[in-house]
């Protein structure tokens, strides 16, 4: 017989956990005490704030495909991870949060550091469970890993009462691979696969929009084969980025609000929209009533509740993206649709001329964010893992980064959580230590979780932090400029002296203001594997274009502050 705390740690090991991101406190102390005996098998990373732990676990999970594990104390420790749980829910990220809870006798008494954590997290978890007895620990952990990692992945909360930690029970972990009420990998309907193939074969102008589902199901190769065979152009959502290499011939860019012109216009010109592993978020669709309204729509997703939720579909296929694409592949005819595909290239050229070149290769004025992102892509050879925070740095980071392999873009998409970037970047580096991890972050976002520089220091996590400092909450300022008569309400920010912060945390640091220094600075940053803070003073009033303003159709695109995209330009 061993304690529930030991059962918990044994179960982690049995489930393949190597790293825990966490922070101790009163109620979780029995587990932390046992952790001392497990240091040879479990690495515990002590963060500086519990929000850092969960975003790090998300970064770890997104880069590695393995679930991230978080351990925190009850009450404030637990409530501090809520933002990250909601983020993981929105972005289908497998994380398991073990939060301590007061002893069962005290439940419901407003005991010290008691919160109703199950009540608080029920709407934002895939599954949550309060463990009241030591004999339930192994069962709950096994179930948590099964649920978090299968089907559409998501966050799990285990609310671990003190009794369950200190009580004793039989040792032994049994993996869970079956829950009768839960069908993680529904078999796609053979009939619908045939129908889909017929629709695809009959289409003259098909267009694929894919999302993170392709990455989560490991369907990158199948997607590429599918596009090659049918000669079909494709666009990605923000979270689908890196599933296909940036130079893949049928890859035409990102869709949505700050996506590429070609992909947004193709959405409105295709005769068949095939969506794979994505959920038609409003940042993707713009005005839904006109979205691809000329086209037939096939929606492939593992989550049945997504089909028809936001956009009406002609054919829904519930299934894992890899299963569905594998079954579709032999039925899809080899076709040459290069004439249709060149439409995309035409819009691509227009965007290059009107938007990309002025952003990436400006001849005068302050450094632009796009230049920095492009320079990092160039020097890293597109091989780095790109992590972003939220705001302009995120959109520019997504637009101008280049990707050579999957699982290389880590960003907070569905929730748009500022402060995500720094902890997610060090979590990603822990999950993929052999890779270069570059973070693009704004001066607002870095200050939301800046305390995690302490973790970077303590763990020697060699992340490359590229601070795109514009002295504004840039994205909000941009919206104030465009949609609120340039009334800049609370978006101007007085910044600290970041060089002092860097030296306080023992980080290498370089400041760049002149265009001529950028290349050398990026090379210096990427030269070795140590943590580096590169602060670039970028254009203060920078904008992100193209832009589909909120509520507009995705082919109503602003090219800059005054010009709109028009056909035939």
């Amino acid at each position: 017989m061993i304690t529930g705390s030991e059962i918990l740690l044994d179960s982690f090991i049995a489930e393949g956990v190597d790293t825990i991101f966490g922070y101790p406190g009163g109620q979780i102390m029995p587990v932390y005490d046992k952790l001392v005996d497990y240091t040879d098998r479990l690495r515990h990373i002590l963060v500086r704030h519990e929000q850092g732990a969960i975003h790090a676990a998300q970064g770890y999970a997104r880069v590695s495909g393995r679930p991230g594990v978080v351990m925190v104390t009850s009450g404030p420790g637990a409530t501090n991870v809520i933002t990250g749980i909601a983020d993981a829910m929105a972005d289908s990220t497998p994380v398991i949060v073990v939060a301590a809870q007061v002893s069962t006798a005290l439940l419901g008494t407003d005991a010290f550091q008691e919160t109703d954590f199950i009540g608080l997290t029920t709407p934002i978890t895939k599954w949550c469970y309060q463990i009241r007895r030591p004999e339930d620990v192994a069962w709950a952990v096994a179930r948590a890993f099964h649920i978090a990692t299968t089907g559409r992945p998501g966050p799990i909360v285990l609310d671990l009462t003190r009794d369950a930690q200190v009580g004793i029970a039989e040792a032994g972990h049994k993996k869970c691979d079956f829950i009768r009420s839960y069908v993680p990998r529904p078999k796609p309907s053979a009939e619908n696969i045939v129908k889909a193939a017929e629709m695809i074969n009959a289409a003259e102008k098909p267009f694929v929009v894919y999302g993170q589902g392709v990455i989560l199901s490991g369907a990158e190769k199948e997607l590429a084969e599918f596009l090659n065979k049918g000669c079909i152009p494709a666009g990605t959502t923000l979270l689908g980025l890196s599933a296909l290499p940036s130079n893949f011939p049928h890859f035409k860019g990102m869709v949505g609000m700050h996506g590429n012109i070609a992909t947004n216009v193709l959405t409105q010109e295709c005769d068949l929209l095939i969506s794979v592993g994505m959920r038609f978020d409003d940042r993707v669709t713009g005005k839904t009533s006109t979205y691809a309204s000329q086209a037939k729509v096939i929606h492939i997703d593992i989550d049945a509740s997504e089909i028809g939720k936001n956009v009406p579909v002609d054919l829904g296929i519930v299934g894992d993206a890899k299963d569905v694409l594998t079954q579709l592949l032999p039925l899809v005819q080899k076709r040459d649709r290069s004439e249709w595909e060149t439409t995309a290239d035409m819009y691509g050229d227009l965007e290059k001329h009107k938007v990309i070149e002025p952003e990436v290769f400006p001849e005068s004025g302050r450094i632009k964010m796009g230049e920095v992102v492009n320079k990092v892509a160039e020097v890293s050879g597109g091989k780095a893992v790109i992590v972003t925070d939220v705001g302009q740095n995120q959109m520019i980071g997504a637009r101008y980064s280049r990707f050579a392999q999957s699982r290389s873009m880590i960003t907070s998409g569905g929730l748009g959580t500022m402060g995500f970037g720094l902890p997610a970047a060090f979590g990603a580096k822990v999950g993929a230590p052999e890779r270069t991890v570059c973070l693009f972050v704004g001066d607002g976002g870095i200050q939301m979780t800046i305390q995690e520089l302490g973790t970077v220091m303590q763990e020697h996590t060699g992340i490359k932090i590229i601070l795109l400092n514009n002295n504004w909450l840039g994205n909000v300022r941009m919206w104030q400029e465009l949609f609120f008569d340039q009334r800049y309400s609370s978006t101007r920010m007085l910044n600290p002296e970041y060089s002092f912060i860097a030296s306080a945390y023992g980080l290498k640091y370089r400041f760049v203001e002149q265009r001529e220094e950028l290349d050398d600075a990026v090379r210096e940053m990427l030269f070795d594997d140590s943590a580096f803070l590169l602060e670039v003073h970028v254009e203060e009033m920078g904008m992100v274009f193209p832009m589909v303003p909120p509520g507009k159709s995705v082919n109503e695109i602003m090219l800059n502050g005054t010009d709109w995209f028009e056909y035939g330009e």
Partner: protein, 107 residues
């Protein structure tokens, strides 16, 4: 689209907290629950919820999908109030048998 009184019927595992989980699916969409019952179903260890609410067919479809998405929910159905509750029993029985068979054959 026309508002009608719908009956939602859901078969679930007997887990603490599911009432809140299911009720929340309605409240999040601002749907008023007119009546609600939870009781043991004809299947051992499986509970049945019946919930009446006034809404559209589209919305009820979404609600059903969200209910079925929950890990501990086995199946959910909906009816316009005056339809007869039928077929559910057979469908739940068939689903459980199929899952058992799948489990057995996996082993």
């Amino acid at each position: 689209m026309e508002n009608k009184l719908y009956v939602v019927s859901a078969y679930t595992e007997n887990q603490v907290g599911l009432l809140g989980v299911i009720a929340n699916i309605f409240t999040r969409r601002n749907l008023n629950i007119e009546t609600l019952q939870v009781f043991p179903s004809e299947f051992e260890g499986i509970h049945r919820f019946t919930i009446k609410t006034r809404t559209t067919q589209d919305q009820i479809n979404r609600v059903l999908m969200q209910i079925e998405k929950k890990v501990d929910v086995i199946k959910a159905f909906s009816y316009v109030d005056d339809e007869v509750l039928m077929l559910e029993h057979a469908q739940v029985g068939a689903f459980l048998a199929a899952r058992e068979a799948e489990y057995e054959s996996d082993k």
